[in-house]
Every structure is written in C-alpha cells, then in structure tokens.
Symmetry: C2
Subunit: 198 residues, 2 copies
Amino acid sequence: MPLLLLKDLPRYECLLESAKEFPDLDPSAAEAYLHLLRAGDDAFAVAERNLDEHGISQGRFCVLMLLWRSVQPRAATLLGAEGCADGPRTPAELAEGANVTRATMTGLIDTLERDGFVKREPDPVDRRMMSVRLTAKAESFLRDFLPGHFRTTSKLMSALSESERKTLVRLLNKISTQAAAMAGGPATPPVPRPARHT
Amino acid sequence: MPLLLLKDLPRYECLLESAKEFPDLDPSAAEAYLHLLRAGDDAFAVAERNLDEHGISQGRFCVLMLLWRSVQPRAATLLGAEGCADGPRTPAELAEGANVTRATMTGLIDTLERDGFVKREPDPVDRRMMSVRLTAKAESFLRDFLPGHFRTTSKLMSALSESERKTLVRLLNKISTQAAAMAGGPATPPVPRPARHT
DNA sequence: CAATTATCGTTAGTGCCCTAACTGTCTGCC
DNA sequence: GGCAGACAGTTAGGGCACTAACGATAATTG
C-alpha cells in the first residue's frame, strides 16, 4: 500500500452536492482523479503482494530491473533503455532511472548489498564513483520471479479487452502529459523555481 | 512521490520483443499496468505538491477529510459516508476509513496534534477509547485549502472530455474489481460483515 | 462473580522515502 | 601549480508506512 487513501470513495451524487458548497469542485474531474488513484493503488497492491512474498520491495525491484538492463545486452534495448551503456552502473545513474534521490539510492543499495543481490565496486578511473553490479543470486532470482510477476499483471488486466487497454493507455497518457505540464512547466524560464501560480 | 517507478517506461515494441524471452509477458497488459501506475503517480505528485506547500501530507489530509465529515453534518452524507455517525471519531475508525493500521493512525494523530490540527480527548464512557476532533485551525485551513485543491484536480483532468472521463472511470473500475478479486484470496471473501478478518 | 476473550490505543523496531549537509575527488580557470 | 566550483556518494535526521507486542479496559461466559 504505497499511498494512504480513503477506503470508500464518495459517490458521484455526493460530489455533485459538494460542488454546491465548493464552486471550484468539478465533480467528474474529482471522480476521475479519485478513481485513478484508487485503481493505481489497487493494481500496485496486487503486484506488491507478489514482491513481498519474495522479500523484495517495489524500490528494490526497480533497482534490480535497471541493473538487469546492463546484464542483458540484447534485452537492453528491448526493455526500453535507449542510450543504454552496458556494464555496471553508478548509484547516480540508478537514482536518475528510478526517479529517486541519490541518498535514497544509497539506502536501497545498502540493503540490496546486505542481502546479497548487488555488489559495490570502486570505479578504477574516477575515484568518486562506485559501480553496482548484480550478483548471480539476483539474476537467478529475477529469472524465477519475473514470470509470476508477468502472470499477475496479465491477470489483473484480463478484465479489459485489447481495445479497452488501448483506450486506457491513451487516456492515461493524456493525464500524464497534463501532469507534466503542470508539474515542471516545460517552458519554465531558467528560474529554478516556478514563481507563477499554477 | 509515493511509489518508486521507472522514469522512462519501456516502449511497446520492446515489450513485444521481451515477450519472446518471457512467454508469460502479455505486452498490452504490461503496457496498461505500467501506464496506470505512471499516471496515478503523476497525478498524485501534482496534488501532493499542493499539499506540501501547505505543510500537509496525503495521509494527514486524509485524516482531516475524514474528521471533517463529522464536523459538517449536512456535508457528511455528501462526502460519501453512509453509516455516518457524526461527532468525534476514534483512532480505530479513522484507521479503518483511511485504510491504515491503528499504529499508523497513532503516529498521524501525534503529528497532527503537535501541529494544532486535531485534539485528543478521552472518551468518558469507554476508557479505552479516545475521541479525535478537528480544531478551529484545521477547519479554517481546509476552507482555505480545498478550493485550490479542487482547481488542481480540475485542471489535471481538463485534458479529458466528459465522455472520456466516464470511459476512464469505467475502465478503472474494472481493474479495481479485478484487483479486489485477486487480493481477497482466490476463492471467496468469507466475511459478509467486516467483523473478524484475521 | 471470576476468568477468558476481545478491543483500544500505544510503543518498539524496521523499511523506504525525503532534505540538508558533509567528505572526497575531479575539472576548469587563472 | 593552485584554488574555486562541480560532482559522486554518504551520513544525519525526519516523516510515514508496516508488524508485533504490550497494558488497560470492556464484554462475554462458565
């Protein structure tokens, strides 16, 4: 359960009523927003149960998948890395790819190394850097774990037809695009922080 | 940022290729799953920035909204509580409504009380229980904060038309239903009433 | 009534995420 | 060469989520 959320979402009629009190409340927008978070949470919780049973968290799984791209030269491009430099990767690169801070990545690598999934090695050229590599244990773990993980996501999405999946992805992409526009401000001037109202 | 996720999702063609190596991988299912988590995360991040700027987290906001149902007798049913007993609420009820453990709720109430948003009072009847009430500070905070929050979600969903929103909610509900079926055990939920779940 | 059982809230310990600040190393510019 | 700035990784401290266990209280039951 990644994010704390109301157990029972308000019904649509309730949103309509609340909109009388709050003119800024757009009932259908709020409904879509709440259901998006709810469905994402539900889907994630199902997948997370798989992970938990194998003693691995979403964050750790993400790191393993990123490192796996390096191990699998022919799968590297297949899994989506385009500027894929194979070979070991640094904590900073991993943090970038996993969308967390370097400090967080340090903690993740700490526990992964403690549990024998990865290995730190100093970079011989640049002594500031470390190289992180998967161990054989991690590779065999992934080969055992991934099929079940894929079956879980397949079953989860079995409720949707092929065309429904396409529609869903298209709508979700619209939301992500809008979120990116609201978050970073693609046309933000060199000012580091956006000084304008949202 | 609630959950750690790959920054760049694999492209669909990459999933198709990976499916050759992993027969269990259903490309369109994996694509839908990843985009769902991504969009949910993006949408949540936008809303969370609003919250952060007001020094409040999603969890704390959730608690305040639950308590607010009690404060607003006419809004109580409107916001979706059906068996809504008005008046103060106990940590156990709040934990149930927010979908967290009682221990987590203790921590949330701790910080909310420290910051002056809620107040604990011992229940005069049952000395095991506590009553949690919103302070005036919290009520005025919500009245200031909610309009902006609603505008944010409206803007986020402005990328979708009314009919697209309906479609999205319908598809998301299918996923949530399927997730519930997968989470609650393969066979049956043996509890018609939420009495004893252990 | 006394003993068992259940419930409530809390505490202790762990994990993962963040920000801020620090150490060590490399780079660029004089 | 030497030094300011940039960069990599870590550490320290806080917040929020979990589980497991505890003391206090209430409810149930023999």
